[in-house]
Symmetry: D3
Subunit: 339 residues, 6 copies
């Protein structure tokens, strides 16, 4: 039904160009059967791969297509890319589910889901070694070790959020590692800090997200996630784990729960308590900074325009400057050259 | 007129105990002549040393004392410490300006003014070596070098503020170094950052304070400081210096000015622009975090109570927990030991 | 040392009049030894009974008194009430700890601690009967019954807060009963509400306060109370209890936790989630209204002035009008009588 | 021109299904003549009945249709329901104004306008009997009686708002009755409240809406409504009525005006004064709660999705949980059954 | 009992110097009988004249004095000015009510109450002539004329506020005239404005203050003032007056009421509606600006310090710069003179 | 190719009527080549003249047209105006660049760009004469004169903003003149103001906009404008100019910089300092008022509806009332005529 893919590497949605015919692979995010004005049906799909997503129409063989493909399927498609009101749109001519043989002609499952650019296994190793080597109290080492062990699969796959930041496969772990490196720096550079607490906070502050969300490939909130929230769910999870450890000190556990509960920094941002220790304060700052930097990256990467600034980002409440790092070579300068 | 000081080290205000007679040294911060109900005069002084300050009364030989001591003087005093409405108060029996010989019996000028606990010369050397070794663009190295050279004396002595944080001799430099180490960490740990800009921001973000304030021993705002503010004054100073450098690139200077102008992070905190680059965002976070951590230290150090929490701090909007770092040895624990 | 109390009923602090000598009983809240200007010591006490508290000075026999009475003691005192800067003050002539015989001459321990005006046992019975008779699901009946049983002593004695509202012995129970009656009304008057959830919310919303606070006679925050807060502590307590009940339905427990977590109504008021069910919304409103009404009562009762309005109350952000309920008989009227 | 309606009951818009042909009745809310790209005209109508509204197109006989139907008309229509970008849309084949005979074949005017689900006459009777039986002061009974009498028609038909809550025929009265029952509960359950004032507040707090809005069938703001607002208009109306009553007490009237003026609770919500009496405080809470509960109902009823939560509601600032009230039977539970 | 006043002009409180004996005149604002520690009584008075007020003690002949003078009395006093905790305090030796003959020796009633520095009669004439000459619609001329006529006495004496601005005899009229001149300017300088409305707004915007306050000599809020507020009271008063005028146009009156109701500019500042016309917008700005300028004047006049800035003013939320208007002659300059 | 324009005056976009064929002139703001569903191309243009802008489609001769016209071109067009979803849309039949001869048949370049309704040269003359005649200090006269001279071209053409207010050719000058007249009024009507400072503030407060924006015909932000902002850019520009003047007094310059920096009035509105002088306070108020009045005008002029109110304006946060200034003749009145 479909010719073999002309190129051996998979063409990503972000790279598609208007007025060209393309053959490639994607996942079906949404599928709807609709009627044209003349009463004839057509299919509206949203296709996506790790680079982005694309509105798609199928005008022909509609019933047949409709029966053979479903939401969530990985598909091979062929069609014409058009401009529709300034956005790209695909008119599909052929489409079918992928088959094992497609791997030969370029299909790569790893290109379907957006994912961290870091190596998940290396990050996991780093996480474990920090816990083993930098935590001095055995009780905390045991607590962290147990939680990591029980949640390894989720930690390696979950995003850190549905939309705003680190919203991709492995984003949770990427964010945790980043926060962890930052608190290690601060524990070295500032006096009087409790490194065990800082590490506990870095590792555990978002642990509730593993229960707040489901399905790392297409993350969504659980009912319990919406009604309780990851801040409290994380504290509850950690308290339950600590109660399995013999003689876990009461006030130490309270401090770890406080780190988790206060990491949003302010009541109006969802923390029922403000940070009341230096460790909690640092955790809030490096967590918030890492989230915002990830958002900056995302905006700078995705902004399609060629102006010096991105469009206004509602989450950050500002436009972002696309700075050019070889500025010292600019032809224009503040001062005239002395001659 | 006064016996030699019995101990060879100077007794600090914070260490004074109620109902004891003390002989020591301090500076006169405030001096007022007042009348008792019976019409007789008395002197009210505020004495201070690096550990704190003390309300003081002189009931006898008032006119004589009044003529011989002035605000700002370093003095030797002898008197009785009393409790007055819960605060310590000193009734002075003898007081005179210090004389060179006092050094023999314990007077130490370094104990008068509160100052950084770090070594100023070492910090200064670190600051210069970072500029020399970590900045890649010659134009920025020149800019930073010139500004440091012209302001060396102020940089080594100024506080970073009058009240809230790093409000002591050398506090400016301590704060700059701390912010600098943080941005060096982030430039190493995060991709795509312009290290030159981060260093410029760390070194220059508060440079306007050298003109906003006067008198590092007893800092106060200048008129220009109150009407313009260190945020804009810093940007103006840096622009003036850059205009002395041949061919300083226009957009590069704009970015440095932006770092300074946006470092308060939000409009309502005094920045006329929000951070619009990743470097400006990082600068804001590490600057703000360092200021708040310094405040935490200060509160924890000065809080006189023996409760688990400090009293409510208006600047931080919270009480701070006095955590005990050997918690793992606590007798109380969450779980019962399995036997 | 002291004559028998002339009257058989105990005179309360609120009823003391300036320039009169009084003999009565109270508790010592604070005791401080201070020095007069001439170096002689005096004692400053704060006395209190259920009607209020009183600044007190002892000028004579100071050392002797100081050794025989302590903070927390119940005492018999005799002294002169004076006006000091517009507030009443007591100069004590005689003071000693109470003895059993004082009961004969009027001492009544129940007059010492401020307490609810309602009958604690009756409220307790009402609470239990509502749970037994109005809750339809056995699992919730079991949950509420268990929690009440384990906490009976605290529920019967705790205040609902340290300062703002229901801040007296039995205030917790009084507040719970009031919220409970309100939700029963709403469950009857509005359609489609889950009465079990409403009752659970009313009974449990502040249950975390039993661990957030200690010592109902002189309530204070625990360390865990300050770092975690009663909102989360309550949810954790309830989750722990539910896990002891066989087959407690998951989503039902989540809803009860949501009721507790969201009862402050807004994130900035300390709830990590806003009410997302009608039951949670109602709970927030009737809880908040009951607290504010209690505050109105307290202000109206304690305001000493004779103006039409109380002084400005910082918690309520307003003055309160002292309305006169027989207004229809007022001589002044909007309209002239037609004759 | 049109066949008789096949079913004897009127089919409501909410119940229409895509890809079916329907014959039913509705009101024309909006009518616009437009041009297709080829220059030919078509009609765009918005039809509505009490269950919702529907975008509608007429492609044929356009001029003829346009001349025979107008905005506001009740019409009989026949057409095909289609899906257009995820929303239902109707392509009309036949349409004409209703005629008396349509009642026989199913047309019911009561199905056109959305209206309260309560019996208006019963609510009116309840309102009058509360005034007669629960108000103790004759002057207030007279005031309320007069206002009700003069505004009977409006009170029985007006909505309580244009959009947010109780926005349907009879919504005003439904809201007043609900607030009234609540204040009656509080007057019984809380001590020291003036029941006459509470009843006056419940009955009169929104009375200004009868002048702020016009046309209960299709409510809109009057010019005076927009420039003055129902809060002040209500107070003015009540003052005018009270001035017709002989010897209405001045301060009593002031209190009633205060109830009306302060019922929004906060200055930023449109009340020029905060509640300064307990009665005004209660009125604000039960009014606000009733409005929000009505909004919850509306959202839960109208949300089309099948997820556990409604979509985000801008007015409430949250999603609402669609709880299932037979939760105790859930198969999933927190704890494993002990066996 | 008292010698004649040595100087023929009355010495004002602001001009008193510490450690001097003074004989002058003032009003008694507050009088309290208190007890010294030894049980002997003394009198505490607050004296005031138009320049300020003064804490005062009478140690001798206390009962006698107490019986002969009362709050509100104008008195002649003699005493010694002392410094008490940095503020001036008076120890009175002689005091008695003023007698007619005191006028000969310097007593001037006009010096007792703080009052506008403008000529009240001239302002009144200006107000009337603007109404007569600048208002074009007869109905508005009649409305303004009637209101001015009925309230002439109050308009000529009331302050515009109790504390914040124009808080002195005649302040109301001074403020109205100032706002009036501003709106006349704007009506001339901006096109399309309705001058009649602007004048109405200027004259009437604060008219409710004549009922919100009582007693211009020592202004206080009325009960109705606190519960309703001058914003609504003014609109009600104007509506009542307009209803006395034959055929006053409905929408015109609504616009005037809107001007009054919206003149605070924002809901959170107490206006139930924001300005929705250009006239209402202008009125808000010039009213607010005039109030703030009056506050600046007051602060600059009263600030006792010799620094370049006043102390922090809570109402304005800032310090105010004491600028020197002959700055062009300053010795210091930005640039060096080229020579 | 195109017939001569039938009327001798140019038809403006705002005056176009649906379903009519029009021939007129405009500028091309945007040009995009797009594909129809059948794959054929069409052109989408946005045309604009001083009265507004218009969405435009070209269905025929697309490639040919595309090659001959460009963004920014002035063109002659002929086409049919249609209604598309409630907005006007033009289907172009003929289009070409304007040629000199078009002036004969009605083309007027002045009708293309929206511009101030005031005479630019008269405003410029007024501006210069105020500086010459009203400024008393020579140094300020020199400063203002120099800045005006250097920026004459920009001052005569720039808008005062891109979107919100005075967003048209000459808007900057119109706004400056308006603020200038206002401060002249206040300097005359209020005592103790420094007129030189007021004039400096009026002339210079927005001077940074001449560098913040580029291209007055189609204004946009510069990179430096976005990163620094006109508030600081203006202060920097003025400081640079003052440094060219011999002996410009230091504190005087600081005050002028303060006027510029604080003219937004509040930190959250982008001023790094609040106004701390009366002159700065006045400048902020008259600047803000003039901007808002211009917005009112704009909204009232452009609102297409026939209701009494404009639609909601997000910038002003309200609807605006379209008042009718001959209200006194209204048939409806508050009171019945007495007969």
């Amino acid at each position: 039904m479909m010719l073999s893919c002309p190129s051996s590497t998979m063409k990503l949605i972000k790279a598609l160009e208007v007025n060209q015919t393309v053959t490639s692979y994607a996942q079906i995010r949404t599928k709807q059967l609709r009627l044209k004005r003349n009463g004839e049906p057509y299919l509206r799909l949203v296709l996506r791969d790790r680079s982005g997503q694309l509105e798609t129409k199928i005008w022909n063989n509609v019933e047949d297509c409709d029966g053979r493909i479903n939401e969530g399927d990985h598909v091979k498609y062929q069609g014409l890319v058009q401009d529709y009101k300034g956005a790209k749109q695909l008119v599909v001519e052929k489409i079918r589910k992928t088959i094992p043989e497609d791997r030969v002609s370029g299909f790569d499952e790893n290109q379907i889901i957006p994912r961290t650019e870091h190596d998940v296994e290396k990050m996991w190793t780093r996480l474990q070694s920090v816990v083993t080597e930098h935590v001095s109290r055995p009780c905390i080492r045991e607590l962290l070790g147990n939680i990591l062990e029980k949640n390894e699969e989720k930690i390696k796959s979950y995003p850190a959020g549905v939309e705003i930041h680190h919203n991709y496969w492995g984003g949770f772990l990427e964010h945790v590692i980043s926060v962890l490196e930052s608190v290690l720096f601060f524990s070295k550079n500032y006096p009087d800090l409790d490194k065990d607490l800082l590490i506990s906070g870095a590792v555990l502050h978002d642990i509730g997200k593993l229960e707040e969300l489901i399905n790392p490939e297409n993350p969504a909130y659980t009912t319990r996630g919406r009604l309780i929230g990851h801040v409290v769910m994380g504290a509850v999870l950690v308290r339950a784990e600590a109660s399995q450890i013999t003689d876990f000190p009461t006030t130490l556990l309270t401090q770890i729960e406080h780190l988790i509960l206060s990491h949003q920094g302010q009541l109006e941002w969802g923390s029922p308590k403000k940070p009341q220790t230096m460790e909690a304060l640092i955790l809030h700052y490096v967590d918030d900074l890492d989230a915002k930097l990830n958002r900056f990256h995302q905006i700078l990467r995705d902004d399609p325009g060629d102006s010096d600034f991105t469009s206004f980002d509602r989450y950050l409440g500002r436009m972002v400057f696309k700075s050019n790092h070889s500025l010292c070579q600019d032809s224009e300068s503040v001062t005239r050259r002395s001659k």
